[in-house]
């Protein structure tokens, strides 16, 4: 019986090649999209789920309120870990992870940059990064020990045993390799090339017990059977006991399974995070698959007249309805199976591009039987979804009606096929509108005045001896005509590394906790960056040596401090007095989609990490870079000349939105593509069934144009209805999306007009090919057939 079903299914497949191709291709594209989305999601939800003790691992988060707003953040004081250990009985052990930093690492004649995390000695006991060589217990005890990953060890030592070898880091630290661990998998938040012991950090004097310095991540391993709730209850006002400077707020422990997907809080309540993307893409994937299934349903039921006779005969010779449903489901599963094979090929072909796009290394494990089982289940499911309605529809035919030869499908105003087409195009139109709005929002923010001149502006991190030789570098850059202006700053112009609510000024309210971005620059900052000076002057140490204790404010900061005449005011930060010498217009430090924050730019007494320099436009960029490299190599010989163009760094601020835009465009394209394939199939079919009618009309004198419009009109009506349904939905969704941006574009009418025009044009092109073909055919042919 089953064999019989598949045999007939296969013959039908071959008999109607066009329909089969549309069905298989449409389903395959839909299935491939769904598989890719599934791979992405399963990778996202697998983050840090491989740790053996994952059920007991938590991250400590701060919770505090500022000016009435509750904030949560996951950088903690270094001292927190020991306080947790001693005060919270639920906690078995803690481990801290400091920011990963790059270290110039040398072994013999080999030099590499190595990304190092500084961690507590308990790190390898809490987290599961299997130790390949060396002693897991003591690996991170010794202040001059270092743990390498397998690939770093291979880079430095090849196949030799690295244990006990001495490495030189940043040309000053001598460290001995104590262990080699497996490379961290890419679905872990911990990405490192080597681990340095916390003891090393302490030995350098980098440790501190200041409760206001939230700079490290603290993780806790609970005792088996302990409740996190009871630990959290004890942590709620934890700062009261320890933090003498600011004894408000506390901490909470955040479970490992929520790190990747949530970790986003609004007013102290979990909101948003990666999970939103997961939800959106789950829905989008389901919709694309559904649209492909709808094609199958539509084409199968449209073909029903051809199958009706067969259904009638089968019923007469003894088939029960369930036999027929089985047969039709068999056919849809066969088609889904063929589509499933094709979709795997599509996935395999597009996976590299997909990985580049998502920045992941997702792959299909073909040796995993579970993956195959999932794939088979997916095919079965797709076949069942796609086939259920046609099976139900076709198996319901009455033999006496269909065998009389007078059987005609009902031409009611609303039939399911039309509803399904409307559904497909509604999705497609929503996606097109979304794409346009996202693009518009990106353009809007890109056209926003960023407040400085990005052109020919570069920055370089003060690595190695560059900091020591800064003045020499600066002088050579200027004297050789490479740069027109050079400034040392605390952070790149595109990144805010520091902020504080601890700034003091005359007239500050005691409960004012306004957050200021904190930036430092030594000299000619306004000139180098191309900022707009509103009042006062730029830093100029040559003319005004006191400028090392001067500060620039932006306009928001002036407003926040309530100065009517800011120049000459004295503010306090880090226990130092700073005199205001100038006011600049706000520039975009963080997101171009957000409002600018109050900002202070402190003078040469600050701390510095970066050189900014503006290239001399009279030389070509490549000449400038080549000459600059020589200078940097001269004064910082061990380090590579790693520079960044500010305009590129600024452009990367749009990356997430651009990805969103590309994804929306991709999905809109796929949806349109699949929907149009279905529409094409329906138009083909319709032209065939109305062959005779067209013949009669032509004999009666109808023109090709009138027949074409007659045949296309019905489909265009459906697209128009879809447009009317989709527009308000898209408007609501996009309004919701734009709400997340402080600096946002408006949703204009032209977006809708363009979308309507576009979708009608696409639908018209799709259907008119068939309509014109039918319209120009010779009526003699169609009329003699009876």
């Amino acid at each position: 019986m089953l064999f019989n079903y598949f045999k007939i299914a296969f013959r039908n497949l071959l008999k109607y090649k066009g329909f089969s191709a549309i069905n298989i291709l449409g389903l395959a594209v839909g299935m491939a999209s769904a598989i890719l989305i599934f791979l992405w999601i399963s990778h996202e939800i697998s983050y840090d789920r491989f740790h053996e003790k994952k059920d007991r691992i938590f991250e400590a988060w701060n919770k505090g309120s500022f000016n009435g707003k509750v904030s949560c953040w996951n950088t903690t004081p270094k001292i927190l870990a020991s306080a947790l250990q001693s005060d919270i009985p639920e906690i078995e052990t803690t481990t801290r992870v400091n920011w990963a930093d790059n270290y110039l690492t040398r072994f013999g004649d080999k030099t590499i940059m190595m990304k190092a995390s500084m961690v507590d000695s308990t790190f390898l006991q809490v987290f599961s990064f299997p130790v390949l060589k060396g002693d897991i217990q003591n690996a991170l005890m010794n202040p001059s020990g270092v743990v390498l990953t397998a690939s770093t060890a291979a880079k430095l030592f090849g196949t030799d045993n690295p244990i006990g070898q001495t490495l030189e880091l940043n040309e000053k630290f001598q460290l001995i390799v104590t262990a080699v661990v497996q490379d961290p998998p890419n679905n872990s938040r911990f990405q490192f090339e080597c681990l340095l012991p916390w003891a090393f950090l302490r030995a350098q004097g980098w440790d501190d017990d200041y409760w206001g310095n939230n700079s490290t991540r603290t993780y806790a391993l609970l005792k088996p059977g302990s409740k996190v709730e009871s630990a959290n209850a004890k942590l709620e006002n934890f700062r009261k006991k320890y933090d003498r400077d600011d004894p408000t707020g506390g901490f909470f422990l955040y479970p490992i399974e929520r790190w990747r997907l949530y970790s986003s809080f609004t007013e102290g309540v979990e909101e948003g995070g990666m999970i939103e993307y997961i939800r959106i893409f789950t829905i989008v994937g389901a919709i694309i698959l559904l649209i492909a299934c709808i094609n199958f349903m539509n084409l199968s039921t449209a073909k029903s007249e051809q199958r009706a006779k067969e259904v009638g005969i089968r019923k007469v010779i003894g088939a029960m309805r369930h036999n027929l449903m089985g047969q039709f489901l068999g056919e849809s599963i066969l088609i889904a199976f063929l589509a499933g094979i094709l979709s795997l090929l599509l996935v395999q072909v597009t996976l590299p591009a997909f990985n580049t796009f998502t920045g992941k290394l997702v792959e299909i494990d073909y040796t995993n039987p579970l993956a195959w089982a999932l794939w088979a289940g997916f095919i079965l499911l797709t076949g069942l979804i796609a086939g259920s309605y046609p099976a139900f529809f076709l198996s319901g035919f009455q033999p006496t009606k269909v065998l009389k030869g007078t059987f005609k499908k009902t031409q009611s105003a609303i039939n399911p096929r039309k509803v399904l087409v409307v559904l497909q195009f509604t999705f497609a139109i929503i996606l097109i509108i979304s794409t346009l709005v996202i693009k518009k929002q990106i353009n809007y923010a890109q056209n926003r005045n960023n407040g400085y001149n990005k052109d020919q502006l570069l920055y370089y991190f003060l690595t190695g001896t560059a900091e020591k030789n800064y003045d020499l570098i600066k002088n050579e850059l200027l004297s050789s005509g490479i740069a027109t202006s050079v400034t040392k700053t605390s952070a790149p112009l595109t990144e805010g590394w520091s902020n504080t609510w601890g700034i003091g000024w005359k007239g500050k309210q005691p409960d004012d906790r306004t957050l200021f971005d904190r930036f430092c620059a030594d000299q000619q900052f306004v000139k180098t960056a191309g900022l707009e000076l509103v009042k006062g002057r730029d830093f100029d140490l040559a003319a005004h040596p006191a400028d090392s204790a001067a500060v620039l404010l932006n306009e928001s900061a002036v407003k926040a401090m309530g100065f009517s005449d800011p120049i000459g005011q004295v503010i306090q930060d880090n226990g130092q007095d700073w005199t205001v010498i100038g006011v600049i217009k706000d520039f975009i430090l963080h997101s171009p989609f957000a409002k600018t924050q109050p900002m202070v730019i402190e003078g040469a007494h600050g701390w510095f990490n970066v050189i900014h320099f503006r290239l001399n436009p009279t030389n070509s960029v490549s000449t400038n870079l080549k000459n600059a490299e020589t200078i940097f190599k001269k004064f910082n010989p061990s380090y590579p000349f790693d520079y960044t163009f500010v305009d590129q760094a600024y452009a990367s601020k749009f990356e997430e939105e651009k990805k969103m835009g590309s994804l929306a465009a991709l999905f809109a394209g796929l949806t349109i593509f699949i929907s149009c394939m279905g529409l094409f199939g329906l138009a083909t079919y319709m032209a065939a069934t109305r062959f005779k009618e067209i013949g009669i009309r032509k004999v009666l004198g109808a023109s090709v144009a009138s027949i074409t419009s007659l045949l296309s009109k019905d489909f265009l009506k459906l697209v128009l209805i879809s447009f009317i349904v989709a527009s308000p939905i898209a408007w609501i969704l996009m309004n919701q999306w734009l709400k997340g941006y402080a600096y946002k574009t408006s949703i204009d009418v032209w977006v809708f007009v363009a979308t309507g025009f576009l979708s009608l044009t696409i639908a018209l092109l799709t259907t008119s090919i068939q309509a014109i073909k039918a319209a120009v055919s010779n009526p003699v042919k169609s009329l003699k057939s009876e």
């Binding site: 019989n4 007939i8 007469v316 036999n323 006496t400």
Partner: protein
């Protein structure tokens, strides 16, 4: 075998009720060979469909053997006719996608006959109608007469007690028609299969031992 009492069937057109069958009383015994005749639209095919349980009457009772068909549910009716009744059509109604062999075999699939039994039964049938050489051909590759032979073979494969034939020779030339009629006669005489055929042709009706004339949904003659 068949007992129809006061069978009526109608359609409503606006306020008018148009009778397709009106007050049909008919008994048919096992082993009879009956022809139903009448002009177009007199209700011949409707009557045949009602007898074949493909269609139901709006009024009246229908006894098939000891089963009150008019009270049965659709599923039970299907079970009943698939066991006892074979259908032959004017337009043959073979399944285009199946070969001759598969067309004949299909009713057995729906009766869950074992594979080995199926093979034997289909082989017998192919032998009997001399179409062994055609078993792998598709219907489109056969002449009308050959297609109807396959249609009859398919109707007989499940060993029905009753054959219902709706103008079985309507699309055939006279020689092919005679062949089919000879087969029916043989089936009726030698195998004791009851046959009811709808026909326009007096010549075909002459093969039967009883002719029922229908006019406007009523039985006019019953001899």
């Amino acid at each position: 075998m068949i007992k129809l009492e006061h069978i009526s069937k109608w359609v409503n057109q606006g306020n008018n009720r148009i009778f397709l069958l009106k007050d049909i009383n008919l008994g048919i015994e096992e082993g009879e060979f009956v022809s139903i005749m009448g002009p177009s639209g007199s209700g011949k095919s409707t009557l045949l469909n009602v007898i074949g349980m493909l269609d139901t009457a709006d009024e009246g009772s229908y006894q098939f053997y000891d089963q009150p068909v008019h009270t049965l549910k659709e599923k039970q009716r299907s079970q009943l006719y698939k066991q006892h009744i074979g259908f032959v059509f004017q337009a043959y109604h073979l399944i285009d996608e199946l070969t001759v062999y598969e067309n004949i075999e299909t009713p057995l699939l729906y009766q869950d006959t074992k594979s080995s039994d199926r093979k034997a039964l289909v082989a017998d049938m192919l032998d009997r109608f001399n179409i062994v050489g055609k078993k792998d051909l598709f219907p489109a590759q056969l002449s009308g007469g050959q297609q109807q032979l396959v249609g009859i073979a398919r109707a007989l494969i499940a060993k029905p007690k009753l054959i219902l034939a709706d103008e079985p020779t309507g699309n055939l030339n006279s020689k092919q028609g005679e062949e089919i009629m000879d087969i029916f006669t043989q089936l009726n005489k030698e195998d004791g299969v009851t046959i009811i055929q709808v026909t326009h042709s007096e010549k075909n009706a002459a093969y039967s031992n009883r002719i029922i004339h229908l006019l406007d949904g009523r039985i006019e003659h019953n001899r």
